[in-house]
Structures are given as structure tokens and as C-alpha cells.
Symmetry: C2
Subunit: 582 residues, 2 copies
């Protein structure tokens, strides 16, 4: 790694894959890029609108960030750009600023992208990707499910022909209800038709086209570019000046073309107000990206480098920050399409970026007549698949603690806001984990006849030695459970007054920290006073190394036995067997 060219290769994966790039790769990447571009144009506009930003901001977020990812990324299929959940989080974070002035809102979005970029790059350089793991699965699914409901609800008023805002589902529903007399029946009718069309297209479109006679590839492609087709159709209809479409609201002026490179606003108070939402957007975005990148890589039997992915996503967000765009991350649906459509290298992303540039320069201005409700239906159908109703039942059945974390994250996200949802979920997960490990499972074990195994006397037919008690503790011993263990041992001794030796079976003990060592020393002292021998068995190598550095082993009023079987042999238990009495 000290070789400079190795470092270059590590941090610039593009140097590797361009070397063996060939014509076959180019064909696959090109066809994938065309399809992804046709998906991305409407999505980019829609997610920018969802964030409360002008539509072109979404286009800007689909140019330089994609190029940056193609240079630094290790996944051959991850499609970077604006995504639904991050756009919703952006909307919540910048709302106080865009309420004052939309240009201040854009500046806030740009700062979010910059902070997110800095965090990701730093985390990548310091290899801190593991921190994202503290977002447990119930927290992620609870959050995403609630976010999908919030997003869909936020689009409802657009389907009715007017647009109202709100932070929580309750607020949104109430505002929609308060303004229900503003409903435009033409927009509503067309919305319902469009929505049905998109749902049918997504669910049955592929089969339909195949039945009509298209090949699988073209059938899938037809399904995927249907939203782009809707955008085209809707815009043309408005441009045709059909009188009964007069009441349909359009996107309005889109400043197409290329974003100007610009420095973000350096007003520190803005940065201070935005750092916490930026951290959350970063974590959620990274977790989503890395999950999809990893699962797609595995299908191809490729490897991705999680730390380099942090750097790549960080550079993408910095690129977004310097081209007046909103935060980006890897999109789930677009990445899957990208792979299916034949992408074999990050060049697909590179070509997509150029496709978006062309779209922005030549088509964007023309898209000002695009009806808003079409974007709303595209968003709703996109997030529908994010909601997973089954997860509640599955989690409930599997684990009560996980269900608590899930339901708290879900309801806080739905009823308060996205930031409190995630924060509460993470703190609760950590709290419940600590609680669980602070009262570990312990078992009194006995010998399974005819084997070298020792099992829980309550669960198995075992034999025990009347004056030797063996306690197996199923957890690492550390400060939070050390005193619990002490109490447990004293309880067991109080219940078994004949005990001459107590063995602590450590096969499931993966660490003993300083607090636990202190407690073990106290227990040892106490047992010595009571005339009871204190033994350990099946202590793991690394822990034994640690114990040997302390005085514990010298002071031990008993022995450390390699296996529990040998402990029983040495304490000559096999001659004095009896049936367990509890």
C-alpha cells in the first residue's frame, strides 16, 4: 500500500476497469444508460419537487454526482442520483429556509449535500463505515415504511389539483381536508387514471407486453419507460391547448441547461442548523446504497469495498454541493434496472450523466408544461414498493424488543418527523440491546451421560455432582452485567448450601472487562471466606491471555480448566453422581 500507484488504484477504481474496457461492455452500458436516463428524467424532476425545490435541481443532481461516482465507486451497477427518502428528509430539513425564500432553500439543500459529502469522505478515509450498522434493521424498515406513507400523503393534494404542505401525516391529511373544496375534478379524474395506469403497468405490464409478442427485454423496457412516455404525453396534451385541460396545474418554468459551478453559502449559522439532518440523510443514504450495491454485486459474484463506497458517495455529494443540487445516494429501483438492462461497469453511470445533460440542455425548458399530477403519481407508485406491511407481523413474532424499535421508529416518523423517528429508533435499539445484555441468560448445567457435553439441567436429562455447582453464563461479562452475575452466584449458593466447588463455565463468554474482573475477584474472595472453591472452565484463548496479565489467576481459590469435562474429572465428580434436585 506504500506504493503510490497502489494508493491511486485503491482510491480511483476507474483506473482499473477502464484498462480492460471493451466493445461488449460498451454495448451493455449504453443500453442500460438509455433506459436509466428515461427513468431518471421524470424521477429527477419529481424528487426535486418533493423536496420543495425547483425541478431543475433534480436534473443537476443527476449529472456531476453520477460522474463522480463513476470515477470513485466500486459497484458496477449502483445508480446514483436523487432518491425518494433522502428527498423527503431534505424537504423537512430545508422547509424553514425555503419558507423564507426559495433561493435560501436551494442554498440549504446545497449545504446538506456538502456536509453529507464531507462526512462520507472522512468516514471513508477513517474506515468508519461500521457506524452505519448501529441503524438496526427494525429501525430502517420502520423508518422507510413510515417515510413512504408520508411521501405518498404529501403527494395527495397534487392529485386533487392543489398543493399543500405539512410535516406529519396528520398535519397533511388535515390541510388536505381543510382545502378539499379547491379540488379540481379534471385533475382528480386524470390522476386516478394515471395512477391506475402506472400500477397496472408495474404489476402486469411485463406479462401484457410479452403476451402481445414482445421479447422479455423489450417488454421490461416498455414497462420501465412508461413514466417517461406519460411525461411526454402529458406535456404534449398541455401544449395542444385543449380547453378542458386549462385547470390542470403544470410544473412551470424549468431552467434547463447546465448548473453553474458555485461555492456553497458559507454562513456558519446555516451549517449549524443543518448538520444534524445532514448526518441522518448521510446514514440513511449510505445504508440504502450499500445494501443494494452489496446484493447486486453478489449476484454478479463481484466484490464492493464498503470504505471506498463511502468515499465515492461522499464525492458524489460534494459534486452535488458544488453544482447547486440536492443530496444524492444510490437508488434501489434504478440500480436494479441498471443491472437488468445490461450495465457491466460504472461507465453506464457516466453515459447516464451525459444523457441527463442532453435532456437538461435540449428538453428541460420544453417540459415546463408537464402536469404536476403526473409527477405526483410517479412518486406515489415509486414509494408504494417501499412500504412493507408484512414486516410488522414478522418482527412481532420474532422478537419483542425488535418490534418495539420498529413501532417506535415507525410512529415517531409518521407522527412527529423523520429526524425524531430515526433518533428515537437508534437510541431505543442501543438501549434495549444494553438492557438485554445486562441481564444475561444463565443456566445450571450438568453432564449429558456418555458424552463430554454439559447442558442446562432444566432442559436436558443430565447428571450432576451434589457438591459441585456449574453455572454457564451466556454473555460476555462486562460492566453492565457484572454485578448481576455476582448476585446470581450468591443466589445459587444460598439455594445449594452443600456446595464445595463452584465452576463458572465460560464457553459463551467472549470478553471479560475490568469491571467484571473486579467482580470476579470479589466473588473469589467471598467464596474463599465461605470455604467454596471457585473454578473457571472453557475460557477462550484471548480472554485467558488477558486474565494472565492480571493477578486474578494467582489469587483464584480454585483452578482454570481447559474443558468442563476435565473440571468434572479433576473434582472427581463422576463417582458421586446424583439426580439434579431442581
Amino acid at each position: 500500500m506504500t506504493n503510490p500507484s497502489n494508493i491511486l488504484i485503491k482510491y480511483l477504481p476507474i483506473l482499473v476497469w477502464t484498462k480492460k474496457y471493451n466493445k461488449g461492455d460498451a454495448t451493455g452500458d449504453l443500453s442500460a444508460a438509455i433506459i436509466v436516463t428515461l427513468m431518471l428524467v421524470p424521477q429527477a424532476l419529481a424528487y426535486a419537487v418533493l423536496s420543495g425545490l425547483p425541478p431543475q435541481v433534480g436534473l443537476y443532481a443527476s449529472m456531476l454526482p453520477l460522474i463522480a461516482y463513476a470515477i470513485f465507486g466500486t459497484s458496477s451497477t449502483l445508480a446514483v442520483g436523487p432518491v425518494a427518502v433522502a428527498s423527503l428528509m431534505t424537504a423537512t430539513a430545508i422547509q424553514p429556509f425555503s419558507a423564507i425564500d426559495i433561493s435560501l432553500g436551494i442554498q440549504a439543500a446545497v449545504i446538506l449535500a456538502c456536509i453529507s459529502g464531507f462526512i462520507l469522505v472522512l468516514a471513508g478515509l477513517f474506515r468508519l463505515g461500521f457506524l452505519a450498522n448501529f441503524l438496526s434493521h427494525p429501525v430502517i424498515t420502520g423508518f422507510i415504511s413510515a417515510a413512504s406513507i408520508v411521501i405518498a400523503t404529501s403527494q395527495l393534494s397534487t392529485l386533487l389539483g392543489y398543493s399543500v404542505g405539512g410535516d406529519t401525516v396528520i398535519e397533511l391529511v388535515r390541510t388536505i381536508y381543510d382545502n378539499i373544496d379547491k379540488t379540481d375534478s379534471v385533475t382528480l379524474t386524470l390522476s386516478i387514471i394515471t395512477l391506475l395506469f402506472l400500477i397496472v403497468n408495474k404489476k402486469y405490464g411485463g406479462t401484457l407486453w410479452i403476451n402481445i409478442g414482445l421479447s422479455k427485454f423489450w417488454a421490461q423496457t416498455a414497462v420501465r419507460i412508461a413514466p417517461a412516455f406519460l411525461v411526454l404525453l402529458g406535456t404534449l396534451a398541455i401544449k395542444a391547448d385543449i380547453p378542458w385541460l386549462d385547470s390542470v396545474r403544470t410544473v412551470g418554468d424549468i431552467t434547463g441547461g447546465l448548473p453553474s459551478l458555485s461555492m456553497p453559502n458559507t454562513d456558519l449559522s446555516l451549517w449549524q442548523a443543518l448538520w444534524l439532518p445532514a448526518v441522518l440523510i448521510t446514514i440513511i443514504g449510505y445504508v440504502e446504497s450499500i445494501s443494494v450495491a452489496q446484493s447486486l454485486a453478489l449476484k454478479r459474484k463481484e466484490r464492493i469495498d464498503p470504505d471506498q463506497e463511502l468515499i465515492a458517495l461522499g464525492m458524489s455529494n460534494l459534486a452535488a454541493g458544488f453544482t447547486a443540487a440536492l443530496p444524492v445516494s444510490g437508488g434501489v429501483s434504478r440500480s436494479v434496472v441498471n443491472m437488468d438492462a445490461g450495465a457491466v461497469t460504472p461507465a453506464a453511470g457516466l453515459i447516464t450523466a451525459f444523457g441527463m445533460i442532453i435532456a437538461s440542455v435540449f428538453i428541460a425548458n420544453w417540459l415546463g408544461d408537464l402536469p404536476r399530477f403526473i409527477l405526483a403519481t410517479i412518486i406515489i407508485v415509486a414509494v408504494m414498493s417501499l412500504f412493507d406491511a408484512g414486516v410488522f407481523k414478522r418482527t412481532w413474532q420474532y422478537s419483542y424488543h425488535d418490534f418495539m424499535a420498529l413501532i417506535i421508529t415507525f410512529s415517531m416518523t409518521l407522527l412527529v418527523n423523520v429526524q425524531s423517528g430515526i433518533t428515537a429508533g437508534v437510541l431505543l435499539s442501543i438501549g434495549l440491546h444494553l438492557y438485554r445484555s445486562s441481564r444475561p441468560h444463565t443456566a445450571i448445567v450438568g453432564h449429558v451421560p456418555g458424552t463430554e457435553h454439559f447442558r442446562n439441567i432444566d432442559r436436558h436429562e443430565v447428571e450432576v455432582c451434589p457438591d459441585v455447582i456449574t453455572i454457564r453464563v451466556d454473555e460476555s461479562l462486562y460492566f453492565a452485567n457484572a454485578r448481576f452475575l455476582e448476585q446470581r452466584i450468591l443466589e445459587v449458593l444460598a439455594e445449594n448450601k452443600m456446595t464445595k466447588h463452584l465452576i463458572l463455565m465460560c464457553c459463551a463468554v467472549n470478553d471479560i472487562d475490568g469491571s467484571a474482573l473486579e467482580v470476579l475477584e470479589t466473588v473469589n474472595e467471598q467464596l474463599k471466606t465461605l470455604g467454596v472453591g471457585f473454578h473457571l472452565s472453557e475460557v477462550k484463548g484471548p480472554i485467558m491471555d488477558k486474565l494472565n496479565k492480571s493477578h486474578f489467576i494467582e489469587l483464584l481459590n480454585g483452578k482454570v480448566h481447559l474443558t468442563q469435562f476435565k473440571a468434572y474429572e479433576e473434582l472427581s465428580c463422576f463417582n458421586t453422581y446424583s439426580q439434579p434436585n431442581n
Copy 2:
């Protein structure tokens, strides 16, 4: 427990021990109470002064709280009352208020006692004593060691004949240095003599008296009441109006007698400002009390009930709160003396309380002439034993993470203040624990020939089957390490391309949460795609129960084996042994 008299007995342990109280008990308790009272009078005055409160507040804290503990407590030897560390914490917490007006300071101390009492009683009723376990041993020792330095430093200026305040050691040392010209040489000389006397008394007093011919009991008693003797001597000296003692500062008016029962100030803003320090005083006080109570109980082969102890200490603090006193807890040195001097029941505490009432009514007013420097020397000698220099070396040798927690708590307490010290320590301990368990130890294991054991191939001479890889993971699988495990499995597979079966040996896995289950399902899918069988072995009973509630076992592309040995048998590994290649 539904029987009302059982509930009474549970919550009022006094009903039990008074039943069999006899003359022998009374003799022991009385002699212990006399000695403890003689220790407690000077300590009570000293700790009140240390808190920045009038001396009589310390006396008040040694009356009703002791009676409350005798009624509710389960330890026969714990001596409750004002203690050094809690007094320092009280001093820091009430300083902003006593700076305005000393009576406001007293009100703040009273509110601290009340909040602490409420928390303890509630924690006892809800059995939340385990929460105190999150204070790890390094955090406690780091905190106590630093607090002892802060306390000793805070008394230095009194030894020089003037009194200055300050929150941190640096501030104290600077203020002392700035005022060094105020030094009174008479006070300084007498302070040095007194300090030397107390140190010699503590270290060699017992041996000296025994050599002179006293019995062990009387020698120990002489050592223990030496501070009371000093108090008497000092007060008499001032009362004698010796001219060269004119410059020695005295305690000043002590309002002896009994405290009036009074409601605490109900100004909510005061309570809000004090709840956090009150929580910390509560936790530190409880941990100190329960540790000493438990270790003394064990010497007597008695049991204490940690939850009832919460209630007892809570009632003591409520008693303090309603008699204008400062927060109390179980004192380490006084409890040891209490036991050694013969206390056999909580009656010893009851008699001590009456001793303190007598002292307050008949002697306190007379003690106004007690020189301040004598209290300062008593405090310094008392806290000297709290500082444990050896703990730094021992912790460093045993565990780097523990040492980090120790040194951060120690230096934050010393340099910032007591509250940041504890808070930083607790957060760091939890953070480091999570970090450690988020990157668990894993080992590739092989079969130890001639046994049923499987051990790390890097540490032991083992045999492995070339197309079966067994990974043992030494940690519960939960959200923070689930993805780490996934990556580790993929790495291992990439290094061993011949693998046909992968066994996850779960003997040290004590829990699998929902996030980890999700990851295992993903790994299972991935291995299926690669044509590799996925097996589990030695899964614990409670985890197997959980897994059976999910679909994981049905979907598993392999089997769950009761033991690793049986897994090897079933995959017919024993015929294809080879030497491990790494």
C-alpha cells in the same frame, strides 16, 4: 406476596429484626453507635462545610435519615449520613445558588436530597437498581480518585488560614496561589502538625496503642475517636483565649438543636436546574452504598436486598429533604467501623441518630469555636484513602478500553467538573462496549483429533475438511455486528474457493436479533446462488426457539446441527481430512 403482612415485612425489614432483638445485640449495637457517633460529629460538620453549607446542616443529615434507614434498610452494618464525594457533588451543584444567598444554597441542597430520594424510591419500587450497573468500574474509580484530589485541594486554602473556592483543581490551585500572601503562619504550622498527627494516627496509631498495652479493641477505638479528641482540644484551645491563636479562623456560630420539619421550596425552576446533578449524586451514592453493604453482608454471611436498599436510601434522602439537610448515602469508612465495633442490627444506626441529636442539642453551640483547619485536616485524611494510584497501572495492563474510560473520567472530573466526568465516562464505556461487540472475534475452526472438540486453526493443531469451512463467531449477533459477519463470511468464501459447505458455529452466540436474522437470510440466499450449503451448529435452546418462529429454518440451504461434531459426521468430513492451509 399478595398477603398484606408479607408486603409489610418486605418493605419494612425493621419488623423482622426487632422480633428477635436481645440483650447481646443491644450491647454490640450500643458500643458501635458510641464510636460511630464520635466519628460522625466531626465528619458531619466537615462535610457540611465542604458542601459550602453551615455546619449544622451536616448534623441534621445525621438524625432523621439514619432513623429512616434503620426502618427500611436491609444491611445490619451500613452507616448512612453525609459522605465526602456526595458532599463535593452537592457543593458543585448548589454553588450558583449559595453564591446568591446561603439560605438559597440550603434550599438547593434540600431539593437535591428530595429529588435523590424520589428517584431512589421509584427505582426501588420498579426494581431499576440494575441501571446503576452502567457505571463501569473504571468510571467509578476514575471518578472517585479525581474527586478525592479535588476535595483535598479544596481544603488546602483552609490549612493556609484563608478560604477560597473553585470548581476545578487548576482553578483552585491558581486562586490559592493568587492569595498566598494571606497565609497565616500560625494556622499553617498547626495544620501541618494536625495533619501529621492524623496520618500517623491512622497508619501507626493502632500498633502504637497496642505496644503501650491497650487491648486491640481499645487501641482501634482510640484511633477512631482521635478526630473527635482533636475537635475537643481545638475548641478548648480557642475558648482558652490564648493570644497567639487569635488569627486562627473558627467555624463560627453553629445553630445546634433539632432541625424543624419543613417542606422544600417548590419553585420549579430550582428543581429543573438541579435534577441532573441529583441523578448523578443518586447513582454515585447508591453504587458506593450497595458495594460496601454487599461486601460487609458477605463477611457476616448475610444477604441484602438491592431493591429494598434503593427504597431505604430513598427514604433516608427524603428524610434529609424534610429536615433541611443535604443528600446522604452509606459511608464506606463509617460502615466498616460500625461493623468492627460490634453493630449487629440497624439499631446501631438508630442509637447513632440519638447520639447525634444529643450532640446537636448539648454540644453543637459550644463547637462554634472549633478551628476550621481541624475540619480541613479531617477531610483531607478521610479522602486520602479514596485515591488509588495503582488502579491506573492495573487497568492499563488489563484492558486498553477500560483504561480509556478511566483516564477520561479521571481527567474530565479533575479539569472540568464532576458531572462532565461521570457523563463522559458512562457514554465512553457504553460506546467502547458497542464498538467492541460490533467487530466480534471470529475464528476458522477445525477438529482436534481424537476428541469432539473444534478449535481455532491458528491456535491449535487441528484437522479440517477441504470443502467444509467452519466459522465460529464469538459474540451475540445483533444489528451492530450483523453486516460485519456478512462481510467476514464473504471474505472467507473468497479465500476458499473450493468450499461446498459453510458452517456457522454458534456456541458463543447468545442472541440473534431481527437485523442479524435478516443478514443470515441474505447470506443464505447468497450462498444458495453460489451453490454453497449453509449450516448452523451448536445453536442454543432459546435462540433455536426464536428461529423456529421465523421462516429461516425452512429456507435454510443446509441444516442446523446439534453439535459441530455431528455436523462434521453428517457432511462426511472425517474421510477427507487435510491440513489447514492457513
